[in-house]
Symmetry: C2
Subunit: 215 residues, 2 copies
C-alpha cells in the first residue's frame, strides 16, 4: 500500500518568491499581479487543461502540467483560492472562481472559518471546513480513495501546512520575472533545506522547476 | 477527444547512443552491457516499480519514472524485448523475461515473424503479431481504450517506427557512461532534429533527459 502524500504541484512564484498580489478582488484573483506572468509557462504546453487550439509544447514543462491530476484524489485550498470574500458569506449563490467545469475533478476542501453547504460542479465537489491543517488533511485523505492529496494554495495555506510539517513534496515553478511586492512564499528556497531535499531543474522556457521532498 | 500518441518513454542509452549489447542471451538480456549502467538513475527513484525498500528520490528522475504508466493503454515491443529466442519458438512454456507480474499492466503487442497464442500474466496480456509497424500500431490503438500507446523498444523496433514516421514523442535518458559497441539508437540526437523539437533536461544525477516531439 503506497503512502498517501500531500503534494504541492505547479505552484508558480516570481523570482522573488511572490505568488499573488495582496489586493485580491472578484475581478482580480491575483490582485495587482498579472497571472499571465506566472502561468505563461504552463499555458504554452500541450497538456494545459484550458487549451482550445491544437499544438503546444511537449517538453519538460508539459510533464509537470500533465502530472497535475495524476494519482491525485483530493485537493485542499485556502478560502482565497475559492473566492475574494472575507468574513461571513454574503450569499451561497456564487460558486467560486472555477467555473462550471472546475479543473480539479475530485473532492476539494476549502479551509474557512465560515462553513457553508457542500456543492458539486461537474465532477468536482467543494466542501467547506473550519478546522486545523491536521484535521483537514485527515478528511482529504479519507476522501482521496488511497490516492495522494494536492495542496493547492494559496501562499498562506501552503505556509500553514509547511509550518505544521505536513507537506511531503513541493513542485514550485520559479518564473523569470520580479514582482517586488505581494504574497510571498519564501525569501529564498533555501529556507526549506533544513527539512527538504531540493532539485532545481531549468526549463528551456526560463522557468526553474524547484522539486522538494522530505529529508 | 485527445489524440492517441505513440510514445517512447524512459528509454536509456549511453552517452554514445547504445541501448544494449549485441550478444543477447537468456541470462544476459542486454548482452555485454550491464543494465545497471543504464537504469541506475531509475532504480534510485521512489516510484521505481521494483523498489522493495522505502525511500528513493522524488526529483526530476522520479517524474519520468512515475509517468511511465500514466495514460498508457498498450505497449508495442520487439521480440528481443520479450526473449532471446530467434526463429521458430522452441516451445510455448517460457513466458518471457518479465516474470509473473509484468510491469506493463496493459495489452502488449510483441512484433515477431513467428506468431504464437496470446497469454495473460497478472494484468498484462501478450499478443504476438507478424505485421508491419502501421498495422501493429493500429491494433495497439484499438486495444488502448483511447489512451496513448507506449513504444517499448528495443533499439531496432524504435528505429523501425521512426523510419515509418509513426513516433509522436520520445523520452530518451542519456546516461553518463560510454559503451563503445552495441545496438545503437543514434550517433547523435541531432539526427532527429529535422523531424522533432528537442529539449535536453539535465538531472542532478548526471542523466540528460532528451524530450522530442514532432515539428
Amino acid at each position: 500500500m503506497p503512502q498517501q502524500l500531500l503534494r504541492v504541484q505547479n505552484f508558480s512564484v516570481s523570482s522573488d518568491g511572490i505568488a499573488a498580489g495582496e489586493d485580491q478582488s472578484l475581478d482580480r484573483p491575483f490582485g495587482h499581479v498579472d497571472p499571465g506572468d506566472l502561468f505563461a509557462w504552463a499555458e504554452a504546453t500541450a497538456s494545459w487543461p484550458y487549451r482550445t487550439a491544437p499544438g503546444g509544447t511537449r517538453g519538460i514543462d508539459d510533464y509537470f502540467v500533465r502530472d497535475f491530476s495524476h494519482n491525485i484524489g483530493a485537493e485542499i485550498m485556502g478560502r482565497n483560492k475559492f473566492g475574494p470574500q472575507r468574513g461571513p458569506w454574503p450569499d451561497h449563490t456564487w460558486h467560486g472562481w472555477w467555473g462550471n467545469e472546475p479543473p480539479f475533478h475530485t473532492p476539494v476542501f476549502v479551509m474557512t472559518h465560515h462553513p457553508r453547504p457542500s456543492f458539486t460542479l461537474s465532477d468536482t465537489t467543494f466542501h467547506f471546513v473550519d478546522a486545523d491543517p491536521q484535521t483537514v488533511l485527515q478528511l482529504a485523505r479519507q476522501a482521496a480513495g488511497g490516492k495522494d492529496v494536492r495542496l493547492g494554495g494559496g501562499v498562506t495555506t501552503i505556509r500553514q501546512f509547511l509550518d505544521a510539517g505536513l507537506v511531503d513534496t513541493l513542485h514550485v515553478a520559479v518564473v523569470p520575472v520580479k514582482l517586488g511586492t505581494g504574497l510571498r512564499l519564501w525569501n529564498t528556497p533555501e529556507e526549506l533545506l533544513d527539512r527538504y531535499h531540493l532539485e532545481v531543474v531549468p526549463s528551456p522556457t526560463g522557468v526553474a522547476h524547484h522539486l522538494f521532498w522530505r529529508r
